[in-house]
């Protein structure tokens, strides 16, 4: 039995039940003549209704069975404690029927035209130029990688010396730092600065000023 048939039969049965209930009301109201809502046509039909009701009781159609759903879907049905689940959001399994799914396999031609679209193809960069200092390639708006690396190495060595001078972390004095290379001496204006000595010639890129 499909869902529609059960609902129809349920509605039919419920209608019968309603009519039978109405019959009982009418029968009870016959004794009290104050009830004026009962119409004569209903009272005439009530005897036929009684017969109908008896037939329905005998056949057992008045009893509402649980609807036997023949539905194309997942084999796992919801658990018997439905009353709790009705109030909650519909689970993934209920919504699986109307989820979007591809109808046909995308052919390799269609896939290729999408993947080889100019938006996906790599763009040739026009902003590459050689670095003036070292001759390696660099991008116009970015520092030269080679030069940066060589400065980074020297800086790491200076930082290592500072670390050795300080001893422990968070021990930086409230002073400026001055880095001096071989055969260099501090100026008079550099009196208050702490000096870091490096045992090598001053690199060309590290200017004094």
């Amino acid at each position: 039995m499909t869902k529609h048939q059960t609902t129809a039969s349920n509605s039919l049965v419920s209608k019968q039940l309603a009519r039978s209930q109405f019959f009982f009301l009418s029968m009870s109201s016959c004794n009290n003549q104050t009830n004026q809502t009962v119409s004569p046509t209903v009272i005439c039909k009530s005897y036929l209704n009684v017969l109908e009701c008896r037939i329905i009781e005998a056949t057992g159609l008045d009893r509402q069975f649980a609807p036997a759903l023949a539905v194309h879907g997942p084999s796992i049905l919801p658990h018997p404690h439905d009353e709790q689940e009705v109030t909650s959001e519909p689970s993934f399994l209920d919504n699986v029927f109307w989820m979007a799914a591809p109808k046909k396999r995308r052919t390799i031609e269609i896939n290729r035209t999408r993947r080889r679209d100019p938006s996906f193809m790599l763009k040739v960069k026009t902003n590459i130029e050689p670095c003036v200092e070292c001759g390696h390639l660099k991008q116009k708006h970015i520092l030269c990688g080679f030069c940066y690396e060589k400065i980074r190495k020297e800086t790491a060595l200076i930082r290592g010396q500072i670390k050795a001078m300080e001893g422990r972390p968070l021990n930086t004095p409230a002073q400026e730092t001055l880095v001096l290379y071989d055969s260099e001496s501090p100026w008079e204006s550099d009196k208050d600065k702490r000096i870091v000595e490096r045992n090598r010639k001053r690199p060309s890129w590290f200017s004094i000023y």
Partner: protein
Amino acid sequence: MLFAFGKTQKLPCIHTSAALDVNKNWDRKNLHMFPPQQPDEARRPAEVHHCRRQIKYSKDKMWYLANMIRGMTIDEAIAQLEFNDKKGAKIMKEVLLEAQEMAVRNHNVEYKSNLYVAESFSNKGKYLKRIRYHGRGMFGIMDKVHCHYFVKLVEGLPPKAEQKTGFDQAKNYVEQLKSRTIIHAL
């Protein structure tokens, strides 16, 4: 000759490993010797074939890079690959530099910049298979993709792609239409 016959048959062999049934044709192209040229013949440009096998990268992603550098001079190609953010770009740059070095050392190329990328393509390497766990006890087989990359460098300037104008194409089309005849006519 016997060697060639032996190769075409599948001989019963205990020691079958993945390494034995790999195609090494690209590497063998470097060993091909041309006969000496005649004095009036145009000078044959030097060629270098180089490849890298089983790169841990996708062949589809590698294709974009291979397509970009096809037809470029080697310096241009190396520059583009250096500033590309893709993983395959770094590997491809190494391959190009190796090929350039090989060309100068072994293949009688005078100037290392006088090379261009004649052929560059990628294809599928041997995949490793792993299990990818899904929900509800389902599983999928995950492929650990690998690819090969092949490049051929040729000495000289890259050939210019012919720029066909609209007028030229239209003219060709009209000529094609005019040259239609009825076949098997009397």
